[in-house]
Symmetry: C2
Subunit: 312 residues, 2 copies
């Protein structure tokens, strides 16, 4: 029976937990706040892991979930938005050197998809499309029960699919990506532009209106806010149609804050998805579901990755 230490390097928290095989709940866990400015991120990480390391028991592997581009094949964190000092940082090699056990790494969206496949909304499915719709849009893809990583481990970057060549600016500097339309940032940008152009709304044009504030205004009938979510849903439908044609999954799982917006987003999404698939068979038996694991997706994905690696 294997014992796994899972680590989730999140935006605001660093979490670690120890899991026994076939036991859903961890036998130990800890979380600490992260501060981007604080140095010695690796020492702090070591400390958190040591705090939950099981005494007198063998640990078989460490699994790590990290945001930003990582190379899962070499275990290198290329860049991570939260820890500025880590650039091309050989995280798994350093963990193995310190703890003497193998360590495995992948990015947060891939591992959230893997977690939903093994423990959450995707159980029983073999081909899964996971999308987190939040500040950005991230993807995780499971194909025949395996995580899609690609040659350099950079696959499933689905937020950066061009849907409209001359569309709005994306956070990455390019135009017309799914993320530029359907992320919280995209929704906020659309509203800010329209307010600046003098469009009427209950929202204050002098302030920054968050995606959540816009969703609240929409629920009170604000036409601009309703339109913003409707556009986000429409392009989410076009993007998902493209991904159905590419991957033909049996389930699409939505995580992330913006995916909590209900009919505001998903009414337009469903109309658009049906309109943009090229054959009704892509929708036959297709399950569309919300993610079930919430904040634990990173930890559980890191755990699932380590368990998969040990058994392969």
């Amino acid at each position: 029976m294997s014992t796994i230490v899972a680590v989730d390097i999140g935006g605001t928290q660093l979490r670690a937990a120890t899991y026994k095989e076939n036991q859903f709940q961890p036998i130990a866990q800890k979380r600490v706040e992260t501060k981007a400015s604080e140095p010695n991120a690796f020492s702090r990480l070591i400390k958190v892991i040591e705090d939950i390391w099981p005494q007198g028991q063998k640990v078989d592997a460490i699994g790590v979930s990290s945001p930003g581009p990582v190379d899962p094949h070499s275990g290198v964190v290329m860049v991570t938005p939260n820890i500025k000092e880590w650039r091309d940082f050989p995280l798994t090699a350093k963990l193995t050197e310190h703890f003497g056990v193998p360590a495995y790494l992948d990015n947060d969206a891939n591992l959230a998809g893997l977690a939903e496949w093994k423990f959450g909304a995707g159980r029983g499915h073999h081909n899964i499309l996971y999308l987190t719709v939040s500040t950005g849009v991230g993807g995780g893809v499971i194909i025949e029960d395996r995580i899609l990583q690609g040659h350099h481990g950079l696959a499933a970057e689905l937020g950066h699919s061009t849907l409209q060549e001359d569309g709005p600016l994306c956070g990455c500097g390019q135009r017309g990506h799914l993320e530029a339309y359907s992320s919280g940032t995209g929704i906020e940008r659309f509203v800010a532009e329209q307010l600046k152009a003098g469009r009427e709304s209950v929202l204050n044009p002098e302030k920054k209106n968050s995606a959540f504030m816009i969703s609240e205004a929409a629920k009170q009938g604000d036409a601009l806010s309703i339109e913003a979510y409707s556009i986000a849903g429409k392009y989410l439908g076009i993007g998902v149609a493209n991904f159905l044609h590419a991957f033909n999954p049996s389930i699409v799982i939505f995580g992330g804050g913006v995916s909590q917006s209900g009919p505001l987003l998903f009414d337009a999404f469903e109309v658009s998805l049906k309109e943009h698939v090229i054959h009704p068979r892509y929708l036959e038996g297709l399950v569309i579901k919300k993610a079930e694991l919430g904040d634990d997706a990173g930890l559980l994905g890191a755990r699932a990755l380590a368990e998969l690696k040990l058994s392969s």
Copy 2:
């Protein structure tokens, strides 16, 4: 040592060949012309296979490549443009019933990709994007040495990715797909529209100008024809950038007639691809190559599929 009978149901020909494992050349092969109007397609297929069936030797499996949507999991040809009488036709079940050996089926683009992986331009690569750019645009994807098929076997329909929501009409009835821009049909449509609008060109606006005729005019300096290929190349670059983000392959292989156009298509493609990838690492070590197997890709892919199934 296995013996495979491979069948390629092509647009104008029906081909069959018998292969011995570890021997590239077939020990027998036959081709006949196909006529869409001719009935009894299945009887004709049986006859061609019987003609190359090895006497006194065991055949281990039959592999079949077919155009159009097929279900590789159930072995059903849903629709095929060449044989009108086959609609939801249980091809592999009927072949197994007749010949008493297992039969496997997939579509022509998937199998051309598989053939290039095993015998052609993609040898030694584990993650492959194959695109055929011809009358249409078709895709075949290999992920970690396995063919990407998806839940209903409809994955890798990459020609029908939306790149511009309000773009030109595609053969499938939708707008702005990669195929609408970069296929031979897309190039012909653009030129016909421009000629109709009174644009100057050496091409005759009263006639149907084929993609090949347009490429010849372009080579003689015709500005409209050069522009047509340049637009095709630009959108091919946007599409491939999307697919690199999705699959992160180590090689992109181009098959099909339009991909023979050289710099006319690929100069604009390369500029556009570089412009549209979100991180230079997607291009690091990326090989971009022409397909090597030509007309034999269907037969060799059908063979590779059967060999893979036998060994799995």
